[in-house]
């Protein structure tokens, strides 16, 4: 269970996240939605330890993760799949995966998890010795997800996994995220695509101007997406 209480984050003199509270129960998928600049990515980066919050509390399974080094947060099982994928372009698929496991020591487990990643996205197995820069956008997204899985997370933070992908690949991504969820992963999903969030999320929070403006459950999101679209301004 991830618990975010009264989170405040500033960039210099600008408050970008204001008093945000929400929780992600173990075993659930929670969506964080909102337009550009609403503060979604800022929240994920604060959870990952890349940004220091000015106020509030962040707890993973009852233990505070506020002001921890990103390394400690990964070790505790909270791993981010960043927006725009951020794979290492000059390195091979295999190297990218190996580096995903830098916090681990169990060589056999790592080897088994690489095979498991290849089973999840078989195209990566075919491309294992290629440089990540030669992969398509969809394949890079798959690689970014697998790289995060290599750290053996309890919970994934996914930042817009459907961004910039073709509708067919988006469907494939939704199916893959569902499989990960069925395997027991808790997921906090940042999404602008209402269809994707509706298909996956148990609960959705909508952010506007750094505040939570609205929350809804997944069923409503799926049946009545227009409510949400009005908040997202589209």
């Amino acid at each position: 269970m991830l618990d975010v209480r009264n989170l405040n984050v500033w960039y210099g003199v600008t408050e970008v996240v204001r008093d945000v509270s929400f929780s992600v129960p173990t075993g659930s998928i929670v969506a964080l939605m909102g337009g550009n600049g609403a503060g979604k990515t800022t929240i994920l980066n604060t959870l990952s330890g890349l940004l220091k919050p000015r106020g509030g509390e962040l707890a993973l399974d009852g233990e505070s993760i506020k002001d921890r080094h990103p390394h400690d947060i990964v070790v505790r099982g909270l791993v981010q799949v960043p927006q725009g994928r951020h794979v290492w372009p000059g390195m091979t698929v295999r190297d990218n995966l190996d580096l995903g496991a830098v916090t681990r020591k169990d060589k056999d487990g790592i080897r088994a998890d690489i095979e498991e990643a290849f089973a999840l996205f078989p195209i990566l197995a075919e491309r294992r010795d290629q440089r990540a820069s030669s992969l398509s956008g969809g394949e890079q997204q798959m690689l970014a997800i697998c790289r995060a899985l290599m750290a053996k997370p309890r919970m994934l933070l996914m930042d817009e996994p459907s961004a910039g992908l073709s509708p067919r690949i988006v469907q494939e991504m939704v199916a893959a995220i569902r499989r990960l969820h069925e395997r027991g992963l808790t997921i906090l999903l940042v999404e602008q695509n209402v269809g994707v969030a509706g298909a996956l999320a148990d609960t959705a929070y909508v952010l506007a101007n750094g505040e939570i403006a609205f929350s809804t459950d997944g069923a409503e999101l799926a049946t009545n997406p227009d409510v949400l679209r009005s908040y997202l301004g589209r």
């Binding site: 890349l50 390394h71 990964v74 390195m91 580096l99 830098v102 916090t103 995060a148």
Partner: protein, 291 residues
Amino acid sequence: MLPFLLTSGITTGALYAMVAIGLVLVYRSTGHINFSHGELFMLGGFFAYTFHVTVGLNYVVAMLLAVIGSFFVGVASDRIVYRPLIKAPGLSMVLATVGFSFLMKGIGRFFWGGKGEYLSIKPIVDPAPLWIAGIPILPQQLIVLAGALACMIMFTIFFRSTLAGKMMQATAENPRAAYLVGIKVEQVYTYTWGAGAAVAGAAAVLMAPLTLLSPDVGFTLLLKAFAATILGGLGSMVGAVVGGFIVGITEALAGGYIATSLQEVSSFIIIMVVLVFRPSGLFGVYGIRRA
């Protein structure tokens, strides 16, 4: 005259190559050019001088101590100067490395300067030249050459095949992604600055018997090594070595056939020509970054 110019060009080229390797190492994992790299070389040389000549330790022991000492100077530079600037804009880092070079030059002058002369170390091996195909070659030249090649091979293998090397490369390519998988980015930087300094120290130790040491040796050497890395392609290990040899040989030939005054200028000409016609260099791996 050509064979003589070539042998001297190849030897200075090997020196430039070794200094360039250190520059590339730091650039590859931190993304910064270390403008204090020449001064690290200078300090490494003086460490060797102190341990060997002043204290009277065995040459090999003095060499090792000098390289280790250089490593710790590199680590200290990271902890004191660079780490506080880890999130600052690139230009701050450039200025910090320049500032640190002045500090080290000051330290060099304080402890080893002001003696009105250049200091020298006796060669490790017999100073009598070997005659190969009618060309005199100093054994120490061969040692420098072997040292440069060994360093290049070692670091290429290190980056390609070890997890630590890949962590350094990943940190250079995308530090944000490195943080997100749990790489201790700050630690990677510390070891990198240390390793870069150690290579500079090793180059100084190998080279000291051939050249003379002075607190001001750093800057000229940095320029030559910089020309070599630009020519070879910033970020490429092989490029640094090839670039180092080309700069060394060009310098020797320009000095011998055209005019001695051209010897010092030739590295600037190389930098200019490469930047105009092939900005990514001969073996450029990272393409061109635009601000």
